[in-house]
């Protein structure tokens, strides 16, 4: 049976892992390759690097980190942040990434999704969607809506999140990484209503992101949100919870998870 994945996310700025609240107030949390290796040993099912300063930093630093990580951690690696062209995606894959996540550039030019999927296969293309809750208009009842925001949550697009998710999949996204900007860094739990709104509408796996604090939050993202995978950063970096604790909670709730393997002999 396909396991529900637990994915530590490493926000990388200037070659270091950082984490802030709502994409600001960044704090240095370590060397990416070192943290990646530790997470792999602790049972991470996959890793995500988001190069959050990619737009202004030189790419060579990132490619070097990707290669060092791929040579130390034998689990899948997704890299996102500032990839704008097929050529940039090729460079990141060649450096040792298995998947690339597209965000702002895909919103600006949706054909980037189809061009990357056409060249590398849709399984290599993750579309990252940052979602912000829209105020519920009077009379909307239970219906909620979210807007796509870009550039690290700083810029509105006016795009409806669910409509964009469906379009991204039609264009060739093999996975969606859905971040609730409202919840990110707050520890308020994943937005399971947002997750369900998307996972019920697309055939591809949905990765939940933004708001993780307790192991039970991961259970809810899968059980209530329909997420295929759950992603978190600071609770793992700061050792608030171990990956094994999160998986134990998921297993106790009857969700299929990969048990943490013994160290390499």
């Amino acid at each position: 049976m396909l396991r529900r994945r637990v994915i530590p996310c490493l926000d990388v700025a200037d070659g270091r892992v950082v984490k802030g609240t709502r994409f600001v107030n960044l704090v240095d949390e370590g060397d990416p390759a070192e943290l990646a290796e530790r997470y792999a040993a602790e049972g991470a099912d996959e890793l995500v690097f988001l190069d959050i300063t990619a737009a202004t930093e030189r790419r060579a630093t990132l490619l070097d980190i990707v290669e060092r990580t791929a040579r130390r951690a034998f689990i899948p690696l997704t890299v996102g942040g500032g990839v704008r062209t097929v050529t940039e995606m090729r460079d990141v894959l060649r450096a040792g990434a298995d998947k690339v996540s597209l965000n702002t550039a895909a919103v600006a030019d949706p054909t980037l999704i189809s061009r990357c999927a056409g060249r590398f296969g849709r399984q290599a293309v993750v579309v990252a969607i940052d979602a912000r809750t829209l105020d519920t208009p009077p009379g909307a009842g239970l219906l909620r809506a979210w807007e796509v925001v870009v550039n690290g949550g700083r810029e509105s697009t006016g795009l409806d999140v669910v409509a964009w998710a469906e379009r991204a999949v039609d264009l060739g996204a093999g996975e969606l990484l859905v971040t609730s900007i409202d919840r990110d860094g707050t520890g308020a739990g994943f937005d399971t209503v947002l997750l369900r709104a998307i996972s019920s509408r697309v055939p591809v796996p949905v990765i939940a992101s933004g708001g993780a604090a307790e192991p039970e939050d991961f259970v809810r993202a899968v059980r209530d949100g329909g997420a295929d995978a759950v992603l978190a950063a600071s609770i793992f970096h700061r050792r608030v919870h171990a990956i094994a604790d999160v998986k134990a909670a998921m297993a106790a709730a009857g969700l299929p998870v990969r048990l943490v393997p013994a160290a390499v002999a």
């Binding site: 040792g96 590398f120 390499v264």
Partner: protein, 209 residues
């Protein structure tokens, strides 16, 4: 000191080769990359990795003069490991894009029908149907990492080659082969300690061949 067999990894432009290079090196192989048929010379084994669709990969193999030498290599029953797309290429053709593939194993690459999510991405159990040293020291139904939407379906004349199956809304073939000619639908180079063990077993098979 044991010898380091020379394993040539075929580069058909599908992206990440760092992981397979590092994983095979870690388990004791001397790894070289091949972008043309000439580069296969002197190899003890060939590994064809890769993800994505068959047609661009076959076009690239054709363009670089690799199709003929790889087919000859397989007809001669020399050590081979196909990973993901590299396994699918062993069949006669792919429903994904209609590509004609190497045709070494009777059967076709077909879409995963009945899958609750596609692509099938993540860790899933590899359930063995037949004992093979490729899986020595690895528990039955151990988890390996998958990322694909299609899988090779052997014809009835090739069912005896099946080593393992996996379930994702239906059973599909996740490992196939005989002796040291093998194919796996999952990614051992991305499957942690069990993946490295499987590659170490393959290197042992190459040494013994």
């Amino acid at each position: 000191m044991t010898t380091r067999p020379r394993i040539t990894v075929v580069d058909h432009g599908a992206g990440n080769l760092v992981s397979i290079d590092q994983a095979l090196t870690t388990v004791g192989a001397e790894v070289t990359l091949a972008r043309d048929g000439e580069a296969l010379r002197g190899a003890d084994a060939i590994v064809v990795p890769g993800v994505g669709a068959a047609a661009p990969a076959m076009a690239r193999l054709d363009a670089h003069g690799l199709t003929g030498p790889i087919r000859t290599w397989l007809v001669d029953a020399r050590p081979f490991l196909g990973i993901c797309l590299g396994l699918q290429l062993l069949f006669e053709g792919s429903d994904e894009d209609g590509a004609t593939t190497l045709g070494i194993v009777p059967g076709r690459t077909i879409r995963l029908e009945g899958a609750p999510t596609l692509p099938h991405i993540g860790w899933n159990q590899v359930e063995r149907t037949r004992a093979h040293p490729l899986f020595d020291g690895i528990a039955d139904a151990a988890d390996f990492y998958f990322v694909h939407s299609y899988a090779g379906e052997p014809a009835s004349t090739a069912r005896h080659l099946v080593l393992a199956t996996t379930d994702h809304g239906g059973s599909f073939v996740s490992a196939i082969g005989i002796d040291a000619m093998l194919g796996v639908q999952f990614h051992p180079e991305r499957s942690g300690p069990d993946g490295l063990r499987l590659l170490a077993n393959f290197v042992d098979l190459v040494r013994a061949a």
